[in-house]
Symmetry: D3
Subunit: 131 residues, 6 copies
């Protein structure tokens, strides 16, 4: 089987189905995203990745929306087209408005700019930040 085709639920083995079922239950969705259908080529990676994502993205000290916006900010910085689309959708589902989206993008853009200014000017870390 090629690694470059999605594995649908009906074609999946027991281990993959168990993960798909847990994703659908946890997220209250009818089907899993393509990401999981492709990762299903490696059932061990699928299980580990899902369990990590589930643990990390559950509300804790930070709420679900904040976590999704951070996920989106990283994906935009890395230029991952799939992740920008999927986590953009996830963030909107969690409550991100158009205005919030605009502010996330503005912060991401400015951080990417000043990261390079700090690199280029070779700015040493302030003693105050070192405690």
């Amino acid at each position: 089987m090629s690694a470059h085709a999605p594995i649908e639920y009906r074609d999946a083995g027991t281990a993959v189905r168990a993960v798909f079922d847990d994703i659908k239950r946890t997220r209250e969705v009818d089907d899993v995203n393509n990401f999981w259908k492709y990762l299903a080529h490696d059932p061990v990676s699928l299980k580990r990745t899902w369990e990590s994502v589930k643990e990390i993205m559950a509300p804790g000290a930070l709420d679900a929306l904040t976590k999704e916006m951070i996920y989106l900010a990283v994906s935009v910085t890395n230029g991952c087209g799939y992740c920008i689309a999927s986590h953009g959708a996830a963030a909107r589902k969690a409550g991100m408005t158009d205005e919030m989206f605009g502010e996330v993008m503005a912060v991401v853009g400015m951080a990417n700019e000043t990261n390079r200014l700090a690199n280029g000017y070779r700015v040493p870390i302030d003693v105050a930040f070192e405690r």
Copy 2:
């Protein structure tokens, strides 16, 4: 003057002093960070960058803490040592607890991981994300 030495307030010209004064007033601090002292070698860039940062980082649809955590997430992704130190400090000042920091790092780590899994498995964007 070398580009690789900080410009202190006492040695700065009028244009630079005006920006330094505005930073100190806005942030309620006694001195500006090294970032601004190095960028002061280019007074036009200093003014433009500060005014952009000031506009972008002011509370809006997102509060100051959320913005600082996103800034930190981008800086960690890019590996900018100075920015990790300065925006880590800024986020803590804005209220980031140790627990929140741990969760930001966990999300940043996982996003960087799944960004590459999506790249590597060449996952096509779900029709549902395209609206």
Copy 3:
């Protein structure tokens, strides 16, 4: 001629044809990939790049498969769509199985994650690693 069209063998000058011939002979293929057909707009870069790739990718202390998997790992980290497709194909041709591919992706994903955790927690290098 636009830089954004492939140069086919029949339209190529002597210098480009010589490189194309060497690629076909070395790799035992009937035609060269698009990468070379586009780079052919700059015959000097084409020659230098091919000779470097040929020297570097030849089996040495590392076999061809290991080298192709490392090439793929870098391309996935950088998110280069073309390179992921071409070096994924090259790695499979050199013997990468689906299972190996899954393990390469898992290592690449984890390395990208822990790279950011090390950045974010500002972990100092252990004395033991400095010899």
Copy 4:
């Protein structure tokens, strides 16, 4: 407790100690690296990250040395100073010779170069790579 100080075994709680013990047993070392001592500020992340690393880096279709060299290749591409030092050491411990190291670096360098050439020349993916 500051997030920017290592947590030593003697100061660690039960959950952290359990992970440290497993790292020491699995890797047959007397102490854990700084990476784990810093990550210990977040015991949940520590446990999840270690268990993922342990599962991923165990020999499978790829041997331990190949996995460590891929880890190093990613770390070099991302410019993570800590990770280059720690996984460089790990790769050498797993058998990487000076000659192998030189070849890994050469492949990483060339991949980073051709990734950008493919981007810049906007090379479309060959039909042959799409199957």
Copy 5:
């Protein structure tokens, strides 16, 4: 209104139209690029970004062509498909020949390669560079 549709002049509010007018006047073009039509979803970001770009890209100590080639070099390094297309076009409009393009790509490729060799070999900065 979705964030993922361009805002055309006829549908834009006063603030957006004022920016679009200034872009068209400054660049002597009949219409603005998609970049501005999407950014128009956030009129404040649109205005700030355009004014920054206008200030930065105006000829100064460096001419317009040199600035556009540097913009292209960064975009190629980051793998931003849109930016490679738009700033490639802008650089050609400013006078970049095919030969110049080939040389920009060669420098970008080599810089990306040697950046990683310097990382991987952990080369310390020469005292001579520190002044």
Copy 6:
């Protein structure tokens, strides 16, 4: 011999000395930079990398200063500390003034910002850029 120590001329073999001599002659310097002294651990890589750098950085359609500023722009974007220091010095030697440096940094910063805005807003490429 450890890979993490510079190889000085007096300790180098014939192949390495030949490259060092050519670097010194071409650049009219008394000694080579640390970069070459570390890369000398792999004489084949040393020779290939130097010959590539020499060919690419020689004045052609672009002058030496423009090439060095592009090299610096890439190094700043990637955050390579060594390369920022060495190519910053090389650019200054080739004639980069403080004012030019400020403008290079401003362009690099803005390009890094707008690259992410284009990613985040998922801007499609204008038909006009596709010719």
